[in-house]
């Protein structure tokens, strides 16, 4: 198969599965109002009680049910929209801002750029999820008297904080990519010919950078997804954690999304493992697909940008043919016969 079509197929499969998860979840939430089928007890034909929730994965419940009898498949489907959707929004915001700052950074060569870049290097040495935890804890952890903010406000706050948090490392990454491209010879000759910075950006930098950005973007989504999951494990959920201050029950999420579900059900791993493993599996699958998407785009670009690669391979083949020497006698004909 042509390597190009192979990469396109990989990209297509990865993006289709992710999109169908989000769209399926959207349809489930909007058209079916997100009502999860609930089965608390199972009766046999004569009406006798045979089992109570949670049910392990079976033909009837492909992914089992949780302790309240909610079908896990629908729980996961319902959560997909929030988890993937929010991380898409966050990564988009962060990416757009990082692009602007990164490009500005790439074109400036002053002392102040060096200082800001080094200052932001500190983000490499503090785990981002812990910064997110410490920033968001006062706002998302329910205070004893209940919240003074609404759910939407808290979600917006979380989106803004997380996108600013992932901004520095993304900006440094994009800036480094751009600097690498700006060192190419054709940029220098464009400068010599009197091109303005904006012209270089639009005509020479963007066409090449655009392709690199397609590889970076899925990685940013993964980074955001991981921060969300870590926050879930630290019991800080999207849109706030409901804390029972009177009776001391375990913290619960407001929004049914994957990270919150994984965080609250982590201890089920040792009892009813499927309750935890279902969402975990889908979470890991999403990240795997995003990585596959990024890799597929990278491979595609390599084959597109570098026709030499294909050329090289053919060259190697032809070399071996020459080595074996399949020159036949018929290839020659006498020019002059005596």
């Amino acid at each position: 198969m042509n390597p190009k079509t192979k990469h396109i197929i990989v990209i297509f499969i990865c993006s289709t599965i992710i999109l169908s998860l989000v769209v399926g979840s959207l349809i489930f939430n909007v058209v079916f109002n997100g009502e999860i089928p609930q089965t608390r007890v199972l009766n046999d034909d004569s009406g006798n009680l045979i089992a109570i929730a949670p049910f392990p994965p079976s033909f009837q419940f492909p992914m089992g049910t949780d302790r309240d009898g909610n079908d896990m498949f629908y729980v996961i489907l319902k959560g997909a929209m929030y988890t993937i959707g929010v991380s898409l929004i966050i990564s988009c915001l962060s990416f757009a801002l990082a692009f602007v700052f990164g490009i500005i950074g790439a074109f400036t060569k002053s002392k102040s750029k060096y200082i800001t870049q080094t200052l932001f290097t500190s983000f490499y040495f503090i785990p981002q999820s812990i910064i997110a935890y410490n920033l968001l804890f006062p706002f998302l952890w329910e205070p004893p008297g209940g919240y003074t903010t609404t759910l939407t406000e808290r979600i917006v706050l979380q989106i803004v904080v997380l996108s600013i948090l992932t901004l520095p490392t993304t900006a440094i990454l994009i800036s480094n990519e751009a600097v690498q491209l700006l060192q190419k010879e054709y940029i220098t000759s464009a400068k010599v010919l009197g091109a303005s910075r904006f012209f270089i950006l639009r005509k020479h930098l963007l066409p090449h950078l655009k392709l690199r950005l397609f590889i970076i973007y899925p990685k940013i989504i993964i980074q955001v997804l991981l921060i969300l999951a870590h926050l879930g494990f630290f019991n800080l959920f999207l849109g706030g954690t409901a804390v029972d201050h009177e009776y001391g029950g375990s913290p619960a999420p407001y929004v049914n999304e994957w990270a919150g579900f994984m965080g609250t059900n982590y201890l089920e791993l040792y009892n009813k493992a499927w309750i935890f493993l279902g969402p975990m599996f889908f979470f890991a699958l999403t990240i795997l697909l995003l990585n596959g998407l990024s890799k597929g785009i990278e491979n595609l670009l390599e084959t597109q940008l570098d026709p030499q690669i294909i050329h090289k391979k053919q060259n190697i083949k032809s070399k071996t043919i020459i080595g074996v020497s399949n020159i036949k006698k018929d290839d020659f004909s006498l020019v002059k016969s005596s």
Partner: protein
């Protein structure tokens, strides 16, 4: 040499200022007070606190006992450092032996090894932690041998298990990185020359290519520390290890957060810079780590 050291010191001070700025922002969020005056005040407070760290106190979140921060944090710090560096050594060792296997494999086997390596390295850290736990429980149920205790209690502290789990992701990261570097190196002129001289395959790999591979590997040092630290955080939280990351949570003050971050950052940064210096001496070109 002098110039390099002074530049490194300057960078280090800048990054420490960056860390202080981050924790000042965190303290603003904690007070829910976003004025420039509070920012300035907190910045000054944290800076004075880290200049005289022996006065800092740490309040145990469970028992509410107040203790001096300094002897305690060092215990936690060394156990975390053990886990971190053990994991790093394990992952380097395993990925190097994997690269040797890969090097001697047939073309078709290479493809499938690459694929498996890619899949494992793109799984999220928490998934790998969970999978390892399940595996150990399953192994215990089958054979009755408890390979290791998961949950650390006060008197037994575990190092080997977290280190092994922490090493999984870097191992495959190193591995896939090494493969791509190996590919680049294979096309280089010096390899072709060595081949044409009739040197053995493994001699070329170990003596000539390996050093270049390792040098290229260190250029990703910052990235590796970045994701390993974030893994360590989750690992210590889920395994209940008394490690340095437990001082990062917000029931502690911002000054403790700052001190912990600086403790994490300084040795790693110095190691990276030492590597950079030795390699730039060896190969004569500047690396930026």
């Amino acid at each position: 040499m002098v110039r390099f050291v002074s530049k490194t010191m300057f960078e280090m001070i800048l990054i420490i200022i960056g860390i202080i700025l981050v924790s000042t922002t965190i303290s603003l969020f904690q007070m829910k007070d976003f004025s420039l005056l509070t920012f300035g005040n907190n910045f000054v407070t944290i800076t004075t606190d880290i200049i005289s760290p022996q006065n800092l106190v740490y309040i145990n979140p469970i028992s509410d006992v107040e203790r001096n921060l300094f002897p305690i944090i060092l215990n936690a710090y060394f156990s975390s450092a053990q886990i971190f560096f053990l994991a790093l050594i394990i992952s380097l060792f395993i990925s190097l032996s994997m690269i040797v296997l890969y090097f001697s494999a047939s073309h078709r086997l290479k493809k499938s090894i690459e694929r498996i390596g890619f899949i494992i390295s793109s799984l999220p850290d928490i998934f790998l932690i969970v999978i390892t736990q399940i595996f150990v429980v399953w192994f215990f149920k089958q054979t009755g041998i408890l390979v290791f205790d998961f949950v650390a209690t006060m008197d037994n502290h575990i190092v080997l298990v977290p280190a092994i789990i922490l090493s999984v992701l870097p191992t495959f990261f190193f591995f896939s990185l090494m493969i791509s570097i190996l590919r680049e190196e294979e096309g280089m002129a010096y390899v072709e020359l060595a081949k044409s001289k009739g040197l053995k395959k493994y001699r070329i790999l170990f003596i000539h290519m390996m050093r270049n591979i390792l040098i290229s590997l260190t250029t990703h040092g910052k990235h590796i520390t970045w994701f390993m630290l974030s893994n360590l955080l989750v690992l210590e939280y889920l395994f209940n290890v008394f490690g340095v990351t437990s001082f990062l949570f917000s029931y502690n003050t911002s000054s403790i957060f700052t001190v912990t971050c600086i403790l994490l950052f300084v040795p790693l940064f110095l190691i990276l810079k030492t590597l950079q210096f030795t390699f730039s001496q060896k190969i004569g070109s500047e690396l930026n780590l």
